[in-house]
Symmetry: C2
Subunit: 182 residues, 2 copies
């Protein structure tokens, strides 16, 4: 779109501030559309996948997981980072099985989401999984989580009560609602 | 909940890696629930607000905005960072007016969302705005965006086509769908 060109910023230079384990931090110098020089602080993060999974009772798998930045235990759909070169769909199947002990025989792409577009480049790929087969949970060494299952109606009620605040979880539901007119 | 205590990590120490303009970066040493020592890289970011705004035709206000981390122009609902001490509801009214030139006489809280809970502590407060009065757009000096308006049905179609990927925008819609059974 021609109009979009009028909104773009041009990178002038990029400074690596911190090379971490899960995030790299950069401060880039840019030219704004009005010609002014400005700076953008940003995080580079690998891709990730998140799964809305229905079990054989038609209930949705929810995790309770401690999240350090908030010092809170929150509800989330199963999710995890893509290994280097891994297809996000394979990540979704792998992480679902590792975290919940269910293998998905049916997994469909819902869409992607950009968590916080001003300062991170993370892309989370969202899937819906069905036809689950019980296998075995394989948590990472320092990973701790608990699995619950809830109906879609109960999950909507929990959202209305402010009990589900995780963005990837809410975004997967938006796609699911839009695709299924629910 | 007693079970939640079993999931928590304990902070041992915190190292400031980078004090930036919009983000601060920390590397914290923690004790995991299994007693192991690990590290958490995290971003501290101020609160923000985002607004699902309906105009007098019942259409929704959408912005097209360039987002440097993705080098893309994307669709988003109006949004912005809370000033120090500012109530997120006041931020919502202020940012809607600054970015779109509409003052909202009716603004209701939908819920909050955590953009990427593993590594940022940002909380985005989501609102629905109605009864808009045309006033005047006041963009920040280096801010460039374009306003469009679409019906809710059109927006759902755009989501199904993968044209709307911004998390705060999708999350505001989840809350709206759940509260209104749409």
């Amino acid at each position: 779109m021609k109009n979009d060109e009028l909104l773009k910023e041009k990178k002038i230079s990029s400074e690596l501030i911190y090379k971490g384990k899960i995030i790299d931090v950069y401060k880039d110098k840019v030219e704004c559309p009005n010609g002014h020089i400005s700076y953008r602080e940003l995080i580079r993060h690998c891709k990730a996948s998140c799964i809305l999974a229905f079990n054989d009772k038609g209930n949705i798998l929810l995790e309770r997981q401690y999240r350090y930045p908030y010092d809170e235990v929150i509800y989330e759909f199963p999710a995890g980072k893509c290994d280097a070169g891994e297809d996000p769909k394979d990540t979704a199947v792998r992480e679902l099985e590792e975290e919940t002990g269910y293998h998905a025989n049916n997994i469909e792409f819902l869409g992607v989401m950009y968590p916080s577009c001003a300062y991170t480049d993370e892309v989370i790929h969202l899937y819906v999984a069905k036809d689950l087969i019980k296998t075995k949970q394989h948590l990472d060494e320092n990973e701790a989580l608990m699995i619950e299952e809830v109906s879609l109606d109960k999950l909507k009620e929990m959202i209305n009560e402010g009990k589900v605040v995780d963005a990837k979880t809410l975004c997967a539901l938006t796609y699911y609602f839009c695709k299924n007119n629910k």
